[in-house]
Amino acid sequence: MEKKKEELLTLAIESSCDETSAAVLRGGREILSNIISTQIPIHQKFGGVVPEIASRKHIVNIMPVIDECLREAKVELKDIDQVAVTYGPGLVGALLVGVSAAKSLAFSLGKPLIGVNHLEGHIFANFLATPNLEPPFMALVVSGGHTALVDVQGYNRFRMMGQTRDDAAGEAFDKIARVMGLPYPGGPRIDALAKEGNPMAIDFPQALTEKGNYEFSFSGLKSAVLNYINSEKMKGHELNKADIAASFQRSVIEVLVGKAFQAVKEAGRDTLVLAGGVAANSGLEARLREEAEKRGVRFLYPSKILCTDNAAMIGCRGYYQALDGGYSDLYLNAVPGLSLTDK
């Protein structure tokens, strides 16, 4: 007997960067398990993720993580109906471990395979966080390597409003944190420091702010902050790191907030969701919430665990993609430079 779609069990795998994760979902929204093995402590001493080391950890972690996610979900592998896996964007060597394992599982079980775009996964984390969320809505995606505004018109219908031209917001956070001598990962450290500083202390630039432009550029801001730090050092001034962090973060946040609500208005949406690793930034979340209240827009963002790279969001995206026939064949390859596109 054919299972009802709400009963479908999806096994999902995510290995695009420095977390190995596996999850089981029942239907599109019920998380039975979501196991995440993070490598952050391993990469800390190198000041960033080392791709070869990440890949070496993934190949060791992948089976224990899958095994644990099935045990926690109290599901037998043979009862799994489909296998979803992140195939990009990310580090190619890291992606390949998950992709290869997922293909082999799907083949061995005789079950369909679903290749998932990691960034779409981040957007779909919101469906897990907010059970009654339905399209359409506007999504602001802010992750390590990507910044984008996506009009989510349906589960499988996206319109790109705009994305980053050069550096993503997350890259700027990491680079500036490194120059200020903050340990990896830099984003949360800057967020914490910014709370102690004066956001109006230094006037850093905001790029592409003209109306109707939904593209992002953070390389100019990054250079301005680096130049400021260098010139202060040359003058022999002691750096006020808290003020730098607060002022830099304000510039990033104002650009993101401004464009996000412009897009909400233009597309006629009543809901804005935040997605991606930088969604854990408390300053960004607070400003978006404040602005949303002022404008009467519903504002949603996933819990911290669903903001990080996790397989549950991949399972959720995979489930809805499969409803529309979005399966992959056994030739599926990792695509490290995969981007968000219209669908």
Partner: protein, 244 residues
């Protein structure tokens, strides 16, 4: 015992299905597509050609390295997941030993060289003694030109095998009188050899743990080596024991 064998240690993608001491099918390719794309379709084809259902497999043998780090991980991730899903044992076979297994020539030193980048190779030497492959020099990393020069000083016949031979030696280096290279169709890894060696291991009860099996890298990542150079004191305190 029906067994599936996989070798993705080099640019050759090779899968084989064997039953008892008989090779049922083998698919060995050196093409333009990546291992990631072709491995599973090749496994599917090799099983079909061997008229063997995946459910009838009783073991998996994986060429465990050394070799291309990414290639090894693609093969191992697939092998582990399959072993787990089909609930059958998995065993790792040395990529170097499987190479030597191609040439059943007694009285000759078989030197297996796998590309280690920047003019280097992982090299291990074997000799057949009473129908068994014996290691005569264990694996190390050395400059390819030095390996060939040293082979020339041995007072025995030497045959060179491996992807480093195809890439850097055959037709490119002048060889000493006692050294020759394996023929082009025998110089690269083949899953058939992995299958035969793996079958013996499994029959002898040697099984690897799917939960923690790693490729044999020999080398650590460049980032780790660099970090230790810059932090000699801390490195001494946390010296990993994984190095071979």
């Amino acid at each position: 015992m029906s067994i599936l064998a996989i070798d993705t240690a080099t640019q050759v993608s090779s899968v084989a299905v064997a039953k008892e001491r008989r090779l049922l099918s083998e698919l060995t390719m050196q093409g333009k597509l990546t291992h990631s794309e072709t491995l599973l379709p090749h496994i599917e084809s090799a099983l079909k050609m061997a008229a063997t259902a995946k459910e009838d497999l009783e073991g998996i043998a994986i060429s465990i390295g050394p070799g291309s780090f990414t290639g090894l991980r693609i093969g191992l991730a697939a092998a582990k997941a399959m072993s787990y899903a089909l609930n059958i044992p998995l065993v790792g076979v040395s990529t170097l030993k499987a190479l030597a297994y191609q040439l059943p020539v007694p009285g000759v030193r078989l030197m297996c060289l796998l590309d280690a980048q920047k003019g280097n190779a992982y090299v291990e030497s074997y000799r057949w003694e009473q129908d068994e492959l014996q290691v005569v020099e264990t694996v190390r990393v050395a400059k390819i030109s030095d390996i060939v020069a040293a082979a020339g000083k041995l007072d025995e016949q030497v045959i060179l095998l491996g992807d480093a031979v195809q890439k850097k030696i055959a037709g490119k280096l002048e060889l000493p009188a006692n050294v020759r290279v394996a023929m082009p169709h025998l110089v690269m890894p083949r899953a058939a050899c992995v299958a035969m060696l793996g079958q013996r291991e499994l029959a002898a009860g040697h099984v690897d743990n799917v939960m923690d099996l790693e490729p044999v890298y020999i080398r650590r990542s460049e980032a780790e080596v660099l970090w230790e150079k810059r932090h000699p004191e801390e490195a001494k305190a946390t010296k990993p024991t994984e190095e071979m």
